[in-house]
Amino acid sequence: MIVKQYLPVFRQAFFNTLSVSTVSLVFALIVGLIGGLCKMSKNKIIYNIVSIYVNAIRSTPLLAQLYLIFFGFPYIGIKFSPFVTGVIALTLNSGAYITEIVRSGIEAVPKGQTEASLSLGMNYFTMMRRIILPQAFVIIIPPLVGQLVVLIKDTCLLSIIAYTELTRAAEIVVSNAFAPSEGYLTSAVLYLIICFILMRFSRYLEKRQKKA
């Protein structure tokens, strides 16, 4: 039983996959929230900077971004560990998509809410914190969970920069035991379990929202 023999590798890899995606998600949420607010800004310069960021990230593959950070930056003297490289690449990548999710969430809150809170004398931050964002948050949760699924699947690319996550674990099994079926299929099943639960959760949230 090759899978049993390599179980510790898979367990560690499973944990690594989850930890790199969780850390990236947290940072990506921060980037996305700031980006989303900037995209609603009336300041042309801020708006354009964020738009360029979002378009540049969305129009290039994650693999190219990863290569640029992992192979390109050391050339000018900036070197990160595989984990940090992965977190930076995934944060920048998911951050762009979450920016768009946050923007559409804020836009979905009726304009009357903004007008009402401003006429009550709230300033921008109080209005965002107390009125707009809590309502936008409920709207964006299902697409956010969807983005998390994408993020978890994207961690597989970190195997290229030698971060031991599930895909890399499979590669280790393949090269050590020469068992491609066991290695790749085990990883695939583990990915499927994580993503299936999240996809179900997202669908449940969506259905509940439609009812309300």
Binding site: T60, P61, L63, T167, A188
Partner: protein
């Protein structure tokens, strides 16, 4: 390191790689749309087995990373007697992967059509096939085109992953150039990213335009 010199040296190679990327995207895009339409209709089927097969297909392909799917097709299938070359494995897997997402788009599009349309068509004596072709699909196409273009952009970007099993597409050419010449990876990968950008960004603009156009009509 001279930026202009490196660019002059590497761009001809990268343009060739861009051709391969475009070829991969085009062929697998066509197959993905065909698979997606069949899968999307299949998911709404009244026959349990067809419905079951389609939803298992969609769940499995959406629930696992494309890279793993590619490795399984390219490295695992040979041990079951199915040997594919790099091109077949790459295009086939990408078509199946995107086809799963397009199935979901098509299914959502079909569900968005009011049920009365289908009832009216049937009560006029149309066969289910005729009803699909003349009544449902023309309306569905207008709904699904914006998300479909979005999915095709993802497909273009996903072709970069096929390079990992050895196709010399845009990103692989860039990778080999940096290894072979020792030129600044920052410049070469910058160009690689730029070439992807000039394919994907116009598609984004197109999808926004189409979405606006459809909005005005309703």
């Amino acid at each position: 390191m001279n930026i202009i010199e490196v660019s002059q040296h590497s761009i001809p190679f990268l343009v060739k790689g861009l051709g391969v990327t475009a070829y991969l995207a085009l062929i697998s895009g066509v197959f993905a749309i065909i698979i997606g339409i069949i899968g999307g209709i299949g998911r709404g089927s009244k026959i349990f087995i067809i419905k079951m097969i389609c939803s298992i297909y969609v769940t499995v392909f959406r629930g696992t990373p494309f890279l793993i799917q590619l490795y399984i097709v390219y490295f695992v299938l040979p041990s079951f007697g199915i040997t594919l070359n790099v091109l077949q494995a790459g295009i086939g897997t990408l078509a199946l992967n995107s086809g799963a997402y397009i199935s979901e788009i098509v299914r959502a599009g079909i569900e968005a059509i009011p049920k009365e349309q289908s009832e009216a068509a049937l009560s006029l004596g149309m066969t289910p096939f005729l009803e699909m072709r003349l009544i449902i699909l023309p309306q569905v196409i207008r709904i699904i085109i914006p998300p479909l273009v979005g999915q095709l952009i993802l497909l273009v970007k996903d072709t970069s992953i096929i390079s990992l099993i050895g196709i010399f597409d845009l990103i692989k050419v860039g990778r080999e150039l940096t290894i072979a010449s020792g030129d600044s990876p920052l410049i070469i990968y910058g160009w690689v990213a730029f070439f992807y950008f000039i394919i994907c960004y116009p598609l984004y603009i197109l999808s926004i335009r189409i979405e606006d156009k459809l909005k005005i009509r309703y």
